[in-house]
Structures are given as structure tokens and as C-alpha cells.
């Protein structure tokens, strides 16, 4: 199968391109931040289950059946969808424009 990129020198040009470096830095930082947020929230949830299941079993208010666990669980689902949407919004807008600029600069 084909080895990396169709042109052996082009990737070096891209690598040195300032816009490319900006793209990589911004996008990686954004993706990592969101990944860490998601991972921490989920791990916190799992650790709660593992070490303090009683917390999740606490009713929202005394006399209520609905527990904090329900709210946190459903909230986590909503957060997962929201973070994903946030990423797509920026990646398909700002980052893709930057990507297009990189390719344009390289073509020149």
C-alpha cells in the first residue's frame, strides 16, 4: 500500500508551515481539553460507584424517590452530547478554514 503522502517532500513543507503549526496546536489542545473533561467526569462517576455508592443513592430532597445518581447519570449523557457538538462546531468551522489555508499556502 501507499507509504505516507503521495509526495515525499510536500509533507516537510507542510510541517514547517506556520498555519499548520497553529492548526495542530489549537486543535490538539482543544481536543485534549475536551477529552480530559469527559474522561474525568466519567471516571469520577465510576469512582463514586466504586467507593461511595451511597452518594448516588441519596434522594434529591428528603421524601423524594429520585436520587442524585439519576440526575448525574442523565446529566452525563447530556454533557457527552454537548461536548461532542462543541468540538464539531469548532473543528468543522475554524479548524477546517485553517486547514484550507494550510493547503492553499502549500499549493502556492
Amino acid at each position: 500500500m501507499n507509504r505516507p503522502t503521495h509526495n515525499d517532500t510536500q509533507w516537510r513543507d507542510i510541517q514547517r508551515n506556520a498555519s499548520f503549526q497553529e492548526l495542530v496546536q489549537k486543535r490538539s489542545r482543544f481536543a485534549m481539553t475536551l477529552a480530559i473533561i469527559m474522561l474525568s467526569l466519567y471516571m469520577a462517576f465510576i469512582l463514586l460507584i466504586a467507593f461511595a455508592p451511597g452518594v448516588l443513592g441519596t434522594p434529591l430532597a428528603s421524601g423524594m424517590t429520585t436520587t442524585w445518581g439519576i440526575l448525574i447519570g442523565l446529566g452525563l449523557i447530556v454533557v457527552a452530547i454537548a461536548l461532542t457538538g462543541l468540538y464539531v462546531r469548532r473543528a468543522n468551522g475554524e479548524f477546517d478554514r485553517l486547514n484550507a489555508r494550510v493547503l492553499e499556502e502549500i499549493e502556492r
Binding site: 477529552a35 447519570g73 449523557i77 457527552a80 461532542t84
Partner: protein, 555 residues
């Protein structure tokens, strides 16, 4: 089609709120076949008719390897997102998780949470790089700068292990379902699923598989939405009222509102969480779907659409499970003489359909559940066959010089073989819990496929030796711990106590994989290792910009 069915179901809901005709024979026990359910069979036949027509249409368009493996790269982001959710929302999700909620309440949510959070991780870490680097299978990406043959062999084994376990779960689900709903015997049901699965993939390739998955996702989401709506209507749209009533009738009482029996100890909880979260990012049939869109932008869109639909679906299953506690566990029509649920607890969602929508809606949901299984097994069969034809045959045996037509032919033969194997295994594993099987598949995906794939894209120091030995260690550890654990060692093999005390191996097997990959990569001083590290930059540029990525045209 779903519009016609929707009307049917709504009419049914209006007129037939009770009625347990389909489960009339309540005295003869859970494995008894039920009387024929004509609406279910008609609706299922409509689904099969439409999907076979699509398969015929796809077979005329499907010529090249790119058409066969990746639908020519012409699927849009939204379509792919819908298809991904159709591929992912398995019978185990629908029947297994609603059953888990039904028996242990909150624990069902823990499962669904794990299944869902894998998706943001795929988005942030994997999706666009995967699309930019790969062609047909995730092994294309994992072996991008590494030595092709060993990495492809490992990836193919990882894929096949996941596919086999997942297939078993789907087959068992199909068999049980048909037994209860269509009045057919378990073995016939398994054979029907196997045959249809082979038809879709063999003749229609990825294009037909995609459409089957999209149609299934649409009707499943509709059916589940309707059930959840009816449950909420029953409790006057009060969530608190829903939980209140459930706690009042459930044998475990208020403990269903907090984490309970599913996760016995911290190690199991963390292990399960890791397996679910990172397993998704290592499922071959899911990863394969990213090559059906034209570029990284569409790939991202598809993840967002899929995450939205899947998250929404899990909220529905949670409501459905609690609805079943209220409406199914209290209704003797759904129980046998001993008080057990007819067909087992995996059937509660189906009984609930009957309770809220009558026999026509029951028919609709049965047809949907069956269609669900077909869509998932079609995706699995295609992924398994691609691992054999694209990775093992074309990549390993022919060293990437395979004739395209011959490669596709090998893939089609593999689909046939997989169909037969799936039928045999489906029959062999008749009495296993389907949700556990899927958990085990996720453990393997998280411990072999995921670490190799992730590090190949992110870590310059990765070498072939590290990937193969480390990934192999992860795979072996997951399988061995699985065999020595409570599920297989005790429940299947009948030993007294497990050698490995936890249900899920992922915590240890993932650690073994990552440490193994690290150790055998950094100590690799060979010339080929140096070359592989050198190729990282070029790979990185392509993974970021998409330059040189395979587009909608085969090349």
C-alpha cells in the same frame, strides 16, 4: 416504510391498550414457543422485503473493492451517523439494558453511560485521524507506518475475536425473540438471521449494510420513543412518579435507585467503565464505518449525529426499563406459573410494547428488535469478512498485491463461512446472558485494538515489535482472565470459584497492553524501528490535513 408502520402503531395504540394474546400460553414455561403473531410477521416481512430490495439495488451499483468495503466513500455525515447508531444500538442495548434496568434499576444506567462516553472519546481522539489515514479497515491505520504483515495479523485476530463474541450475543437475542414472538423454533430463528445477514453483505456490501442500519435506526428510535412516551403518559409525565411507582412494586425496593449488584467492588466498576469507554473505540465494525464518508469533516459530523441518537436512545431504554417494572412485573399475563417473566427478563421491553400498545405495537416492536439484530450482524459480518479478506488475504498473504476482484471474492466467501459459524455458535450459546457477552467483546476491543490504534496515531516511538507483542499480550490477557473469571470459569465450566475474581478484565488487560507496547517499543533498537519512527512525521501531517487520504474514488 417507517411512516406506514408509525401510522399502524399509532392506530394500535389508540385501540388496543391491553390484550395479551401473543403470550397466551402462559403456563408452559419460558422456553415454550408462542402462538403465531401475524402483525409481527407481516411487519417483519415488510422490513425484509425492503432491505432485500435495497440489497438488490446496491448489488447493481457495487462493483469495486471501495464500493464493497466503504460504499464508495459516498455516504454523507448525517447518513453515516444514523447508520453508526444503527450499528451500535444492538439487541443487547435494547433488550439487555432495558432488562438490566428492569432487574436492578440504576445499574442499567451505568452500563449505558459507559457505552455512550466512548463516543466523545472517539470524536476527540480518533475520528478524523482514522478517516485521514485509513481505507477500509482500522488495520490500515494501525499498520500505516509499521510493518504491514504482523500488525495486520494481530488486528485481524482482535477484530475476529470481537466479531465472534458480539455475533453470539446477537444470535442468541434473535433466537429468543423469534421463539417468543413469531412462534418459530430457536434454531430456525438463528438460521433465518444468519441467512439474511449473509444476503445483505454478500450481495450488497457496505452500501446495503448502511441502508439496513439507517432504516433500522429510524424505526428503533421511533418505536422506543413511542414506548417511553406511553410510559411517561402512564405516570402523568412525572419522572418522580415513575420512580415512585417502580420502587413501590420492585422486590428490591428503593435500592433500585442507587448502584447495586451489577458492580460488586471497585476493581469491577473501574474495569467495566474502561472496557465500555475504550472498547467502543476498538470495535472493528464501528471503526469501519468511518471510511464510508468522503472526508474528516463528514466523519466528525457522523460522530456527533451518532452520539446524539445513541444518548437519546439510552435515556429511552432507561424509561422503558422502569416502565416495565411498573407495567410488566405487575401483570400476570407476562409471567409463567412460577412468576418468572415469559421468555426471560431480556423480553421485558417486548412485553412492555404489548402492555402500552397492544398486539399490533407488540408486532411492530418485535419486528424492530429483529431488524435491529439483522442490522448489527450485517455490520459485524462485513467487518469480520474484511478482516479476513483485506487484512489477512490481501495484506498478509498477498502482501498488498492482491487482485481487487479476487480480494472481494475472498471477502464474500468469508461472509458465507462467518454466517455458518454464527449459526453454530448462536445455537451453542443459547442459555447465556447477552449483555455479559457484549461486555466481554468490549474488553477485548479495549485491550488489543484500541491501544495499538491509538498509539500508532499518537506515539512516535511505537514500533512493530511493540505493537505486536504488547497488543498480543493485551488480547491474551483479556481472553485468559475472561476464561478464569466468574462468567466462564464458574457459570459455563461449572467450577466452584473463579481463579480471577472479577467479571471484567479490562483494567488489567489494558494496563498489560499499554505497558507491553511501551516496553517492547522503547527497547526496540532495530533499523526497521528507526525507519518506522522516521515515518511518523509524514503520517502526522496526513492525519492532520487529510492530504493523500483516500477519497471517494478508489486508488
Amino acid at each position: 416504510m417507517n411512516i406506514v408502520l408509525a401510522k399502524l402503531a399509532l392506530v394500535a395504540a389508540g385501540s388496543l391498550l391491553t390484550g395479551a394474546t401473543a403470550v397466551a400460553d402462559a403456563l408452559t414455561g419460558p422456553v415454550t414457543q408462542q402462538s403465531l403473531n401475524v402483525p409481527a410477521i407481516i411487519m417483519f416481512m415488510i422490513f425484509v422485503g425492503i432491505t432485500l430490495y435495497i440489497t438488490w439495488w446496491a448489488s447493481k451499483k457495487s462493483q469495486s473493492a471501495s464500493d464493497y468495503y466503504a460504499a464508495g466513500g459516498n455516504i454523507t455525515g448525517f447518513q453515516n451517523g444514523l447508520a453508526i447508531s444503527g450499528d451500535f444500538m444492538s439487541a443487547a442495548s435494547f433488550l439487555g439494558i432495558s432488562a438490566l434496568v428492569f432487574t436492578s434499576g440504576y445499574d442499567g444506567l451505568i452500563y449505558s453511560m459507559g457505552f455512550l462516553v466512548g463516543w466523545p472519546m472517539i470524536m476527540f481522539l480518533i475520528a478524523e485521524r482514522l478517516r485521514n489515514l485509513g481505507r477500509y479497515t482500522f488495520a490500515d491505520v494501525a499498520s500505516f507506518r509499521l510493518s504491514k504483515r504482523p500488525v495486520r495479523i494481530l488486528s485481524a485476530f482482535g477484530s475476529l475475536a470481537v466479531v465472534a463474541l458480539y455475533l453470539i450475543a446477537q444470535m442468541v437475542g434473535a433466537g429468543k425473540l423469534i421463539q417468543l414472538l413469531f412462534g418459530l423454533n430457536y434454531h430456525i430463528a438463528v438460521v433465518v438471521v444468519g441467512v439474511l445477514m449473509v444476503c445483505y453483505v454478500l450481495f450488497g456490501g457496505m452500501l446495503a449494510t448502511t441502508w439496513v442500519q439507517m432504516i433500522k435506526a429510524a424505526i428503533l428510535l421511533f418505536g422506543a420513543s413511542f414506548m417511553a412516551l406511553m410510559v411517561l403518559m402512564h405516570v402523568d409525565f412525572s419522572i418522580e412518579g415513575l420512580f415512585n411507582q417502580a420502587v413501590a412494586v420492585h422486590s428490591s425496593g428503593a435500592s433500585i435507585m442507587s448502584p447495586g449488584g451489577l458492580v460488586k467492588d471497585p476493581i469491577s466498576a473501574i474495569s467495566l467503565g474502561l472496557a465500555l469507554m475504550f472498547g467502543t473505540a476498538g470495535l472493528p465494525h464501528i471503526l469501519m464505518r468511518f471510511f464510508t464518508v468522503s472526508n474528516a469533516k463528514e466523519a466528525r459530523k457522523s460522530v456527533f449525529v451518532a452520539t446524539g441518537f445513541i444518548g437519546y436512545f439510552y435515556i429511552l431504554t432507561f424509561i422503558i426499563g422502569f416502565g416495565a417494572i411498573i407495567l410488566v412485573s405487575t401483570n400476570p399475563a407476562f409471567q409463567d406459573s412460577t412468576g418468572a417473566i415469559i421468555g426471560g427478563t431480556n423480553m421485558v421491553a417486548v412485553h412492555l410494547a404489548n402492555a402500552v400498545g397492544g398486539s399490533i405495537f407488540l408486532g411492530f416492536i418485535s419486528a424492530v428488535a429483529f431488524a435491529t439484530i439483522l442490522a448489527v450482524v450485517a455490520g459485524l459480518a462485513l467487518a469480520g469478512a474484511s478482516a479476513i479478506s483485506h487484512d489477512l488475504y490481501a495484506g498478509v498473504i498477498m502482501k498488498d498485491n492482491a487482485d481487487e476482484k479476487k480480494e472481494v471474492r475472498i471477502s464474500k466467501i468469508s461472509v458465507l463461512v462467518l454466517g455458518i459459524v454464527a449459526i453454530v455458535l448462536g445455537i451453542a450459546f443459547e442459555s447465556q446472558n447477552v449483555a455479559f457477552m457484549v461486555g466481554l467483546a468490549f474488553s477485548i476491543a479495549a485491550s488489543c485494538n484500541f491501544p495499538v490504534l491509538l498509539l500508532s496515531m499518537y506515539w512516535r516511538q511505537l514500533t512493530t515489535r511493540g505493537a505486536v507483542i504488547g497488543g498480543g499480550m493485551g488480547l491474551a490477557t483479556a481472553i485468559v482472565l475472561m476464561i478464569l473469571g466468574p462468567t466462564i470459569w464458574v457459570q459455563v465450566l461449572g467450577n466452584d470459584s473463579p481463579i480471577y475474581p472479577y467479571d471484567y478484565p479490562a483494567l488489567f488487560s489494558m494496563a498489560v497492553a499499554f505497558i507491553g507496547i511501551w516496553l517492547f517499543s522503547v527497547t526496540d533498537k532495530s533499523a526497521s524501528a528507526a525507519r518506522e519512527r522516521e515515518l511518523f512525521d509524514a503520517q502526522f501531517v496526513r492525519s492532520q490535513t487529510g492530504i493523500g487520504a483516500s477519497g471517494s474514488v478508489a486508488h
